[in-house]
Assembly symmetry: C2
Homo-oligomer: 331 residues x 2
Amino acid sequence: MATLREVAARAGVSTATVSRVFSRPEAVSPDTRAKVFTAAEALSFTPNPTARSLALGRTHNLGFLVPDIRNPVFGPAVETAQDRARERGYSLFVAAGEGRSADELDLVRAIARQVDGLVLIAPRMSDTDLEDLARVTPVVLVNHTCGELPAVLLTSDDGMSQAVDHLADAGHTAVTYLGGPDYWLAQRRRLTAFTTACAARGITGTVLGPLEPDFVVAGRNAADELVRTGTTAVVAYNDQAAVGLMQGFAEHGLRAGRDYSVVGFDDSWLCEMTSPPLTTVHLAFDDAGVTAIDLLCDVLDGKTAPDAGPVELATHLVVRSSTVTADLPVG
Amino acid sequence: MATLREVAARAGVSTATVSRVFSRPEAVSPDTRAKVFTAAEALSFTPNPTARSLALGRTHNLGFLVPDIRNPVFGPAVETAQDRARERGYSLFVAAGEGRSADELDLVRAIARQVDGLVLIAPRMSDTDLEDLARVTPVVLVNHTCGELPAVLLTSDDGMSQAVDHLADAGHTAVTYLGGPDYWLAQRRRLTAFTTACAARGITGTVLGPLEPDFVVAGRNAADELVRTGTTAVVAYNDQAAVGLMQGFAEHGLRAGRDYSVVGFDDSWLCEMTSPPLTTVHLAFDDAGVTAIDLLCDVLDGKTAPDAGPVELATHLVVRSSTVTADLPVG
DNA sequence: CAAAACGATGTAACCGCTTGCACAGTGGGT
DNA sequence: ACCCACTGTGCAAGCGGTTACATCGTTTTG
């Protein structure tokens, strides 16, 4: 791989000039520029990004941690984040957590100093670790908060209250919430949103959980219990749990949208794949991806304070066919 | 962030010594080592990876390109690859292609010089581009070949012939293959495997496709055609297409495993989520992930030639319930 | 006991690029 | 004619590490 010096030698100019041609071309006269370009061409020279990073003190890379690469909700976030990062002149390095919280910290530390900033989706590390990290490199959180670190939150309240209302409208007087692991902010928020929504609507809200993180099997397992207690309306922590639930109910010959109602959370592409298609609360993870990147880039550009606090993104119910309709009241 | 020099000053040694403490600790006497460590501790010093990369000429990072982050098959590959990379002392940077082949090259070029090697899953770029890339940095391919570049291939033959046999055993005398996009090696291989398997078994094989890359809707759309022509046995390019197909058939009141048979490809977690659960050909993408990393690391360690050619990983049929059984013969 | 070998440390060049500063040449303004 | 921008370029000192080589005590060995 050719270096700046070789190009400089071949073009008969100094290394400074070559450097300028590649970083501020307008600062160099058109004919030297041309000379340099042909020399660079001939040697197929490309500036070494590592050297540039060292000299500049910035890498033009961004890190993006997703807690579980298998979870379909994160796909859209990664995609949009990557696009936006490119638009703003950065490359995105995604790292995949795998549920194990211990590894997560190692993973992130390994990349923290090689990027100009980090987006962490629902990290499970401790606040202390997070603060330490934020001292090393700018951090933007998604669906998690820590002090006044900038964050993007997918509000659960509006979606949850719509879900509960929807179920109540259909004639359900009792609803069960099947909760996820407590270490997730989303879970904690959904839980309180659920109880307040039920209270507001004047229906009985029962809570089950927390589910283990393999949501499908957890949902399937929970089904027996729910069938036994005669539950007919469920809001599940996420779509996967809802799908598991539907499978479990199916084993008892019960079909969602006919014999009982179930609402998921996330609106992953799973929802259109089930039968019946799953009513769910839409989470705009695609927006969350670009918003997080924008926030991060703004911090890097000094446009935003690195402790700007959270931005909230609305959620809303998407009605499909896993919930009974009002004219088909159930017990 | 503290630097080597500051640590050296505080510990009263030279920078060389500090450097050695962090790269070859055994080369320095225990008491100086201790002095350096306490100084480093006090300043919370960590070697700057960028500087180290520049000096060393290696980054200890690996790049991993997945063509479509939303496709559930790639999750396991990413996970296992990441684990293995860490085991072998590398960090893995994942880049997500998004179907658009043009972006793919940009994406990869942006990271190519920041990593010691690249794993590319089913890249869509031209052979020329690929060769150029391989000249810049070691490359390992997955489900793609290009000259003698090292590659990991998930063989389609065995799985496909098992699938065809399974359908024939169930009494089907005609089978349709619903193919994916031709630019994928897997598609081309599955297609030939299909025709030879049908020939070998003496049943009629029809081919449909190629499907557009949104497989679910493509599958759904294909269903009408298939129903009209009275097709009762289908092998789909992948699980997503199979799911779409099942949805399309369902609209005609037809149920897989009872009225007709369908076999998917990939064995993604989708298969256990459908009703009925999908019979499919298992692709060991988890193995492919670690194998690719191993291959790449071996090349980097000089243990393998950078043009070692492909390694094949076997596939096999996983029978679930979307195929009719032998004692329930269909028309 | 001198020579050789060795282990621990320091010196300084280097990895490839950026950039503040100095310098020369140009063209106006007075 | 002179001074002063102003533009285009080069010099050289970094960025934060690594490492070949030199140095210097301390054994070991014939």
